[in-house]
């Protein structure tokens, strides 16, 4: 197993390097950093001087290494649009996005798995048809529309929940949390629901199809042939086998949630990284764009690593023989 971990870590580093290259290319070659930073009146000579000072005339490799080292130390440059260091901007925004994402992920898991199990075990019951309809709606409704409909209903018509923003926030050192205040909790409900809805649908469908597949296997047939109770067959055998691939996919989806937060944050004016990134796209604020890219890639890579390890812990077949092909 340690060999496996090392191998995965090396793979992760390679991926990060590739992303770094892409980010660097963006950073350096898309648009002209100098013209973004200075006004119209600056002379050509002054621009050249600036170029020299910023090290933009050095060989590419040197620039890249400098870029990489800076990144690792958290020096992401200065935002074209806001004129502030990028890492400050992200430090402010990161907690908002992460809290929202985690609440959304939790919501989708806690609701999605039971719904999926139910519709898989009892596909012909009325409640299953209801769940199936919900899932269809969840997949057809774009995230932003769900958000808007919620705002219309609970915010405008019923006035139960706030229609934008994060509510009151408590500072814990470098982190700011909205989960400990009343208004903060109310503010996170609709965005988390919106963000988690799509995931919930995905999880539900996945669990359903997995469990239906599992119920057709020989070992389930054999379990029934041995006279095991329905409870033992469904929850002891079928469920455990179903959850194994579900864990993987859900874990991978976490990264997706963080990215999809862009949309939710836009709809609800939630002060997170996603909104920052979107604004950077609209204004071609390259330092922010490339930093977001690197951060997201980092999250993805770390999550993938954790999920991989988890998978090996849970499925005994993988623990002993690396080359065993999973028959899922």
């Amino acid at each position: 197993m340690p060999a496996l971990i090392i191998r995965r870590i090396i793979q992760s580093v390679l991926v990060m390097l590739t992303v770094a290259v892409v980010a660097f290319t963006l950073f350096r070659y898309v648009g002209d950093p100098v013209s973004q930073m200075v006004g119209q009146e600056t002379t050509i000579a002054e621009r050249e001087q600036l170029r020299e000072d910023l090290g933009l005339n050095d060989p590419i490799i040197v620039q890249f290494v400098r870029f990489a080292l800076n990144t690792v130390q958290g020096k992401f440059g200065i935002s074209f649009r806001l004129g502030r260091p990028v890492n400050e901007l992200f430090a402010e925004r990161l907690p908002a996005t992460l809290e929202l994402s985690l609440v959304a992920a939790l919501f989708s898991l806690v609701m999605g798995i039971p719904m999926g199990v139910y519709t898989g075990l009892y596909p012909d019951r009325v409640l299953s048809k209801v769940f199936q309809t919900i899932s269809l709606i969840g997949i057809s409704l774009p995230t932003f529309l769900i958000g808007i409909l919620l705002i219309l209903f609970f915010g405008v018509l019923l006035s139960w929940l706030p229609t934008f923003g994060r509510g009151d926030v408590i500072q814990l050192g470098w982190w700011s949390t909205g989960l400990l205040t009343d208004s903060g909790l109310k503010a996170v409900v609709m965005p988390a629901f919106t963000l988690g809805m799509f995931q919930l649908t995905l999880i539900m469908r996945l669990v359903r199809s997995e469990i239906m597949e599992v119920l057709r296997t020989d070992y389930i047939k054999f379990a029934r042939a041995r006279g095991l109770t329905n409870r033992a067959v469904h929850f002891g055998h079928a469920l455990k086998n179903t959850l194994v691939p579900v864990i993987t996919i859900t874990g991978l989806q976490l990264g997706s949630i963080i990215a999809f937060a862009i949309i939710t944050e836009t709809v609800f004016q939630w002060p997170g990284m996603g909104l920052l990134f979107l604004q950077s796209i609209q204004f071609a604020d390259v330092p922010v764009m490339s930093t977001y890219l690197i951060l997201i890639a980092f999250f993805f890579v770390v999550i993938n690593l954790i999920v991989d390890i988890l998978y090996h812990v849970v499925d005994p077949r993988l623990r002993f023989d690396e080359s065993v092909v999973l028959s899922h």
């Binding site: 020989d218 070992y219 047939k221 041995r226 095991l228 455990k240 005994p316 077949r317 002993f320």
Partner: protein
């Protein structure tokens, strides 16, 4: 003549599809005596597996029992509701399937699967069940049983896995085991061992076995009596010795003639012309008549019932005059 353990009377299995109702098993009747090894032999698609599934109540929809009755110890079991049948499965009737790898849940240790089955059907304490499990594994010939109880299925070889499967089927001492192609998925060298094991264990526990297979050699090895199935119908039933040495039905003759023998001088292997008809194409009268060298008019018009020509029963008009059951 001891009372039969299992009585099958005029069993019919049908499938309802959009093209109409297909009859897969058509009016078969036979008895199984306590402790005997009863073989059911025939080609793929003849209906043997379906018969086995029907007996244990695990016919999968759209298949269903369309006609007939099944009695276990004089209790009618073909119409029992699911939860009552569940108590019979494992405890009174066991079943083992073809592929030992897919028959075992890959995520649970072998010991857990055994203990679970024992605890479901008996009043033992977990500790007692644990001890019993070790004894069982020992009995089926798994070395170092105490250690291997904590191993997972993929850590066993094919033959060992099938032994585990047999242990699972026998663990609460059912009076009947249905073995559906138990050796087909195994290496030839292992097949003989498993067959011998099955026979030995069943004799010791006084368990009857219905051995379903297409391999006549296996039947000849360990069966006491055998039924030959063709196109969903029984064509001959009797003692193995009689049927192998002196097959009466032309199809049985073909089957026996196709077994290569190391003992006799090499003669040509008999091959029967044509193939078994599919469910949609069963001809009127005797299902075998298109391929039968002895067919005459009656065969094409009326389907022969099982004629009791002691010592065996044949469904063939050729033997009409030998009917010794007292009916004309």
């Amino acid at each position: 003549m001891p009372e039969p353990l299992l009585k099958i009377e005029h069993l019919g299995i049908e499938f309802h599809t959009r093209r109409g109702t297909l009859v897969a098993v058509d009016d078969i009747s036979f008895d199984v005596l306590p402790g005997e090894v009863f073989g059911i032999v025939g080609e793929s698609g003849a209906g043997k597996s379906l018969t086995g599934q029907a007996i244990i109540g695990l016919l999968e929809p759209p298949g269903r029992i369309g006609a007939g009755r099944i009695f276990l110890n004089d209790q009618r079991i073909d119409q029992l509701p699911y939860h009552q049948m569940r108590r019979i499965r494992g405890k009174k009737i066991g079943m083992i399937f073809q592929d030992p790898l897919t028959s075992l849940n890959p995520l649970y240790t072998v010991g857990k699967q055994l203990v679970e089955t024992i605890l479901t059907h008996s009043e033992m304490t977990p500790n007692q069940a644990h001890q019993h499990t070790i004894a069982l594994l020992d009995e089926v010939g798994i070395p170092a049983a105490e250690k291997r109880i904590g191993h997972y299925p993929h850590q066993f070889s094919g033959g060992m896995r099938q032994r585990v499967v047999i242990a699972l089927a026998l663990c609460v001492s059912p009076s009947l085991i249905i073995a559906d192609e138990p050796t087909t998925a195994l290496d030839v060298s292992i097949q003989a061992q498993i067959i011998a094991l099955l026979k030995g264990l069943c004799k010791e526990h006084d368990t009857a076995v219905i051995l379903i297979t297409h391999d006549m050699g296996v039947i000849a090895e360990i069966s006491d009596r055998v039924a030959v199935m063709y196109a969903g119908r029984l064509v001959e039933v009797g003692e193995v010795r009689d049927i192998v040495k002196n097959p009466k039905h032309p199809y049985s003759q073909g089957l026996m003639g196709s077994i290569p023998s190391l003992h006799h001088k090499s003669e040509e292997l008999i091959q029967i012309e044509g193939t078994m008809p599919g469910l949609m194409e069963i001809p009127p009268g005797c299902a075998f008549h298109p391929r039968c060298p002895h067919a005459f008019d009656r065969c094409r018009q009326r389907r022969p019932g099982l004629i009791d020509t002691k010592p065996s029963k044949v469904a063939c008009w050729l033997f009409e005059n030998e009917d010794r059951s007292g009916n004309t």
